[in-house]
Symmetry: C2
Subunit: 200 residues, 2 copies
Amino acid sequence: MDQSTEEKIKTAARKIFHEKGYSGTRTRDIAEEAGINLALLNYYFRNKKRLFELVMSDSLEDFFSSIRGAFVDTSTDLDQKIQIIINNYLDQLTANPNIPIFLLNELRSNPDALVKKSELRGVLNSSSFMQQLEERLKETKQTGINPFHLIVNILGLTVFPFMASPMIKEMRQINDEQFMAFIEERRTLIPQWIQLMIKK
Amino acid sequence: MDQSTEEKIKTAARKIFHEKGYSGTRTRDIAEEAGINLALLNYYFRNKKRLFELVMSDSLEDFFSSIRGAFVDTSTDLDQKIQIIINNYLDQLTANPNIPIFLLNELRSNPDALVKKSELRGVLNSSSFMQQLEERLKETKQTGINPFHLIVNILGLTVFPFMASPMIKEMRQINDEQFMAFIEERRTLIPQWIQLMIKK
DNA sequence: AGTTTTTTTAATCAATTGATTAAAAAAACT
DNA sequence: AGTTTTTTTAATCAATTGATTAAAAAAACT
């Protein structure tokens, strides 16, 4: 495990920024986590802000990358895509449960970070998935419904429980392991629910 | 508008804490927002932490209070309750769009705040709504599904778009007004989707 | 009207935080 | 082996932040 100092800092910064957000994170926290001298943060990354922007950009990329493939793939049909998107998201969120709340909380004060990812908008809006959704809504006589609602629903059913995990755990008096079992139950349920919304 | 100084501080604190979170908020921000002298925060509330805990407690109360009535009301049936809960939530979130992300972000670092509201767990778990949900799942041969999933779904479909509003606005290139129109569309759609999940 | 209590103010302080500095150590180059 | 460049270190600094202080002003009490 011979990580360079620069890599050590990045890894540590990702972890701590995800947990504490930008203003809750001290550069000393990152240095401690990385096991390096505090001044190295400025030597390698100039200042806290730059390091954060790097982590923010990477995290946005991570958030979208696990589903981009499924969105644009023309060889799968709508039902397959729904399954793949939800599965890929659950896998990714299981590995990085802090990403959604981190991203959405930071985007509140700095929405511009997303503008730099404007390419994603293009990908999403012209995706095979979007077209297939529109066609399905036509077939099911639901043309009054903006297909974007369905995308929000997939995200809401998949992502929200991770963001609300403290509340869910407290309300149901369950531990982390039991929470993850709850999430696994949803792996098959969410696609079924989405299917009901666009049923032929 | 003869608010006392104490009230002015509370109002300002709620606003700023909701926007910036605990660590992103300086006591000077609150004082400026309230139009009062900085030292008055300590005079009236002793320190930043106490003021925050007060705002946190109130905000949790607000988050749950708009739906508590509907949960325990025994004179309405399940379908009516779903409608009322979603409507009440949308009204409340429209008035205070920052509450969910504020609460869930702060609960990540301090879940204990919720333990102080443990009474809510009792209310939820023994509520008329919960019982009606269980009965409906029985009637529809879905006894393998924990009814709590449906509650998470209602929240996910209702609350998540508010939390994700920066992303939704950017992805669809819409302004605040258009975002609220998007939310209003969901007012009738969400109950329909939920009904599909528990359809007889 | 005088006295006491409460509220407010501007200045100041102690601690913290992001950042800088100068020197030492290590690596790379000749 | 000597020189140059890069990396690391511990100390220090400048700015910021939550909090305190002492005095003035206002309100309440007698």
